[in-house]
C-alpha cells in the first residue's frame, strides 16, 4: 500500500495543471505559501470544514464502537476533496441548482454544504428523527432534497447512471446548474460508469456533468493494481472526447482550484468533465474491517494542519480550540440524538407509495 500511495503521488506531480501555475505566479503573498492565491478566509473555511467533517466521522466511529450503531462507513481521508466540492456547489432545489449524486463517503461535502452534525448522528443511530432516511438506512446514506442531494444508496455505481437524468433535465435549461457525481475507483468497473460516459458525450445532446472518481487504491480488500489495466481511470473519458483531469485529492487547495475551473467550464459549455482525484482511506473500508486508523495512508488533514500552521494562518492552539469546539458539538449532538425515539415497527408500510397510499395487499 505504501508503494501504491507513492506511485499515486508520482502521477499527480506529473500532472500539475498549467493554469494553476499561472494563478500562483500572478500573486505575491506575505507568507511563503500563498495557497495558490486563494483568499485566507477561504483557506481557513476549508480547513475548518475539513476538521469538522473529520471530528464528525470520528464521533460516528465511536458511536459504532460503543455499540450504539450497527454499521459505520464514511469519509475520513476524503476531506480535502469533499469539502472544496461542497463549497463550490450551487446549492438549492431544482434544475437551476446543482444536483449531487454522491456515494457513502460524502460527509465532507454535505458538511461543507451546511448539514448539521446531528443529522448524520441521527442517521447512524437509526433514529426516527434522522432526516435522511427516518432510521431506515446505513450511516453516510444522505438525502437532502432541499439542496438537490439525491438519495445515496448502497449499490456501487448507480449514481453515475442517475446523473444522466438530472443532466438531461439541465441540458435543456438555460441556467448554469450541473450534475455532480462522486464514486470510488473500484466502482468504475460497474456498467453505470460506462453508461455515464456514453450518455454524457452523445453528440446529439451532451450533458453538463462533473463526473468524479475518488481513487483510494482499494475496493474493500482488493487492490487497484491487479484489477485496472487503465493507468488512470480518467483516461476512459478520452475516447468519448470528454475533458479529463487528474488531481491530488489530498491537497484541498489544488482540489479547490481544479474543481472550480472544471465546474466553470461545465456551467458554461454544458459538456461533461471526468475528474479523478487521488485520496486516502484512513479508517479502512468500513466497520466491517474494524474502522481502525491506517497509519500507512496519507492524512490530508494532518498535512493541511501543518501547512496552515507553517503559513501562520492559524496557531497550534487555534486548531486545538477549534477541534475542541467541534468535538463538543458532536458529543452534544450524540447526547441529544440518544434521547430521541426510534422508528415504530408499524411504520414499515409507510412511504412505499407517495403520501403513504396503501401498499398492503391485505387491504386492497
Amino acid at each position: 500500500m505504501i508503494q501504491n500511495q507513492s506511485s499515486k503521488l508520482k502521477v499527480n506531480s506529473k500532472k500539475s495543471s498549467p493554469k494553476v501555475q499561472k494563478i500562483k505566479a500572478a500573486r505575491t503573498s506575505k507568507s511563503t505559501d500563498d495557497f495558490m492565491g486563494l483568499e485566507a478566509s477561504l483557506v481557513k473555511q476549508i480547513f475548518n470544514l475539513m476538521l469538522k467533517s473529520r471530528v464528525l466521522e470520528e464521533r460516528l466511529i465511536k458511536i459504532y464502537k460503543a455499540g450504539e450503531a450497527f454499521f459505520w462507513i464514511g469519509a475520513p481521508g476524503e476531506e480535502a476533496f469533499g469539502v472544496p466540492l461542497g463549497l463550490l456547489v450551487n446549492k438549492g432545489h431544482g434544475i437551476k441548482h446543482d444536483y449531487l449524486h454522491l456515494h457513502y463517503r460524502a460527509t465532507p461535502t454535505v458538511v461543507a454544504m451546511g448539514m448539521p452534525m446531528i443529522d448524520s448522528i441521527r442517521l447512524i443511530m437509526n433514529k426516527v428523527t434522522d432526516p435522511h432516511t427516518g432510521g431506515r438506512n446505513f450511516s453516510n446514506h444522505y438525502c437532502i432534497p432541499k439542496w438537490n442531494v439525491t438519495p445515496i444508496t448502497s449499490p456501487i455505481g448507480v449514481q453515475y447512471n442517475f446523473a444522466i437524468g438530472t443532466g438531461l433535465a439541465q441540458s435543456k435549461d438555460q441556467s448554469s446548474g450541473i450534475s455532480i457525481i462522486t464514486g470510488g475507483d473500484a466502482g468504475t468497473a460497474e456498467s453505470d460508469f460506462a453508461s455515464c460516459l456514453i450518455w454524457s458525450s452523445r453528440p446529439e445532446r451532451p450533458l453538463p456533468l462533473l463526473i468524479t472518481v475518488q481513487n483510494n487504491g482499494w475496493g474493500i480488500s482488493t487492490a487497484y493494481s491487479g484489477q485496472h489495466g487503465e493507468k488512470n481511470i480518467a483516461d476512459r473519458g478520452k475516447a468519448f472526447g470528454i475533458r479529463t483531469r487528474l488531481i491530488n485529492g489530498n491537497d484541498p487547495i489544488e482540489t479547490y482550484i481544479a474543481l472550480k475551473e472544471e465546474m466553470d467550464y461545465i456551467r458554461k459549455e454544458r459538456k461533461p468533465v471526468l475528474l479523478e482525484a487521488y485520496v486516502s482511506r484512513l479508517y479502512g473500508h468500513s466497520s466491517a474491517s474494524g474502522a481502525n486508523l491506517d497509519d500507512k495512508e496519507t492524512d490530508c488533514l494532518a498535512l493541511f494542519s501543518q501547512r496552515i500552521k507553517d503559513s501562520g494562518l492559524m496557531s497550534n492552539q487555534d486548531i486545538s480550540e477549534l477541534r475542541n469546539t467541534f468535538e463538543a458539538e458532536a458529543r452534544d449532538a450524540m447526547e441529544t440524538a440518544r434521547q430521541e425515539a426510534f422508528p415504530s415497527p408499524d411504520s414499515i408500510w409507510d412511504h412505499t407509495y407517495f403520501q403513504s397510499e396503501n401498499a398492503d395487499w391485505r387491504n386492497f
Binding site: 431544482g94 434544475i95 444536483y99 434522522d130 435522511h132 432516511t133 427516518g134 431506515r136 438506512n137 438525502c143 432534497p145 439525491t150 438519495p151 444508496t153 449499490p155 448507480v158 447512471n161 442517475f162 446523473a163 444522466i164 437524468g165 438530472t166 443532466g167 438531461l168 433535465a169 439541465q170 435543456k172 450534475s179 456498467s191 453505470d192 453508461s195 456514453i198 450518455w199 452523445r202 446529439e204 445532446r205 409507510d350 412511504h351 412505499t352 407509495y353 407517495f354 403520501q355 403513504s356 397510499e357 396503501n358 401498499a359 395487499w361 386492497f364
Partner: protein, 352 residues
C-alpha cells in the same frame, strides 16, 4: 377505431401537450421510426437513446429526481432483465428516503408472446413486475383502456410500469377514444407516419380529451355466474372468446374479468365474483412457478376457502426457459384458446 399502438400514441400526445411530459425516449423511439411498434410516431418530445437499457432506466430515474415527467421505453421486455436492480431502486426510493423523493416516471415495454417472437421476443414480465413493491403495474387489453391507463400512469406521482401486450398492439378497439375521429382511415391519415421518406411528415392530431381508467380498478367484461375467469393482456380476449363459445355451445355462463392493474390489484371486484361463482381460473402467460396468478389463488384461498366449489386454478406459461419459434411449440408453451377451454371445462366438472 384506433388500434392499441395508435391509442398509446394519442395518449402520449395528450401527455406531452396537457400533462407536462417532457421527454419520451428509448431505442428507436424517435423519428424516423417512432418505435418498433409505431407507438411513438409523430410526437414532439421523442428521441433515440443509445443501445443501453440500464442507461434508459437511469435517465428516467434522474429525470424523476429532477421532478420531470417522462415516459421511457424498453424496446422489448425481454431486454429489461439487466435493469431489475434499478427497477428495485425506483421502487424503494420513496420508502428509503422516508417519503422525501417520489419518482413520477412511466416505463413502458412490450410483453408476451403471439408474434412468433421465439426465445427473445416472447418473454412476459408481469409476474416479475408484481415483485416490485413501490411500482404500480398496469396492462391494458383494449385501445381505450391503454389510452386511459397511460394517462393515469402519467398523472400518478408514483413510478408506473405500463406493459404493452405486443400481440394486441395492432388490434382495433370497439370503442372510440375521446376525440378520436370516427373514420378509421381518417385517423390513419392523420397520425400514422407514411412509408418511405418521413422527413417532412407532420401528424395532424385530433383534439383528444382526457380520459381516466383508474389504476387499481378491474373491469367485468362479461357477466356470468358459473365460473370466473380473471386475466389481462394477450390472454384476456382469448378468455372472452372461449367464454362466448362455451355459452353458445353448452350454455355455460362465465364471468370474465380484465384485471388491467396488476399492482395494486382490484381484489374487491375479484372477490365478489368468485364468491358468486365459487369457481375461478386465473390466466396469464408468464411462467407458472412463482407466478402472480398463484398469489391471487393464495388470496382466494385465504379469503374464500369455504366458498369455493372447486379448486382455484392458474393457467400460465409452462415453466420452461424459452418459447420455441415453431408455432406448435409456442402454442404448447403459453395459453391459447384450446387450453383455456380445457381448463374451464375441468373446473366446471369438478364436484366438491
Amino acid at each position: 377505431m384506433a388500434n392499441m399502438a395508435q391509442a398509446i400514441r394519442m395518449a402520449l400526445h395528450y401527455s406531452e401537450t396537457h400533462l407536462g411530459v417532457s421527454e419520451i425516449f428509448g431505442q428507436d423511439v424517435g423519428a424516423p421510426l417512432g418505435g418498433v411498434f409505431t407507438c411513438t410516431q409523430g410526437l414532439k418530445t421523442t428521441w433515440n437513446t443509445p443501445l443501453d437499457e440500464r442507461g434508459i432506466v437511469g435517465a428516467a430515474i434522474g429525470l424523476g429526481l429532477a421532478g420531470q415527467r417522462c415516459v421511457a421505453e424498453i424496446q422489448f421486455c425481454d431486454y429489461i432483465f439487466n435493469t431489475i436492480d434499478l427497477l428495485k431502486m425506483v421502487g424503494n426510493t420513496s420508502w428509503t428516503t422516508n417519503g422525501q423523493y417520489n419518482l413520477p416516471i412511466v416505463l413502458m415495454t412490450p410483453t408476451g408472446a403471439g408474434i412468433r417472437g421465439s426465445v427473445y421476443h416472447s418473454h412476459s414480465f408481469d409476474a416479475w413486475a408484481s415483485r416490485l413493491p413501490g411500482w404500480k403495474i398496469v396492462m391494458p387489453s383494449t385501445p381505450l383502456d391503454a389510452y386511459g391507463l397511460l394517462l393515469s400512469a402519467v398523472k400518478d406521482p408514483n413510478p408506473v410500469l405500463f406493459l404493452k401486450p405486443k400481440s394486441l398492439l395492432r388490434i382495433r378497439g370497439e370503442e372510440l377514444i375521446p376525440g378520436e375521429p370516427s373514420n378509421e382511415k381518417e385517423l390513419k391519415q392523420r397520425i400514422d407516419a407514411p412509408l418511405g421518406d418521413r422527413s417532412f411528415w407532420q401528424p395532424n392530431w385530433p383534439d383528444l380529451q382526457d380520459f381516466e381508467v383508474p389504476i387499481g380498478k378491474a373491469k367485468i367484461v362479461r357477466s356470468g355466474d358459473e365460473l370466473t375467469v380473471i386475466s389481462y393482456g394477450r390472454t384476456l380476449p382469448l378468455c372472452l372468446k372461449v367464454a362466448e363459445k362455451l355459452k353458445a355451445n353448452i350454455g355455460v355462463s362465465i364471468e370474465v374479468i380484465d384485471l388491467r392493474s396488476i399492482y395494486p390489484y382490484d381484489w374487491q371486484t375479484m372477490k365478489a365474483s368468485i364468491k358468486k361463482t365459487g369457481r375461478v381460473l386465473f390466466v396469464n402467460e408468464d411462467t407458472e412457478v412463482t407466478n402472480f396468478g398463484e398469489h391471487l389463488v393464495y388470496r382466494t384461498t385465504q379469503d374464500l376457502f369455504y366458498d369455493l366449489m372447486a379448486r382455484p386454478k392458474v393457467l400460465a406459461g409452462k415453466n420452461i426457459p424459452g418459447i420455441g419459434l415453431y408455432p406448435a411449440m409456442e402454442e404448447a408453451s403459453v395459453p391459447y384458446e384450446h387450453e383455456i377451454e380445457k381448463e374451464i371445462l375441468e373446473i366446471l366438472a369438478e364436484v366438491p
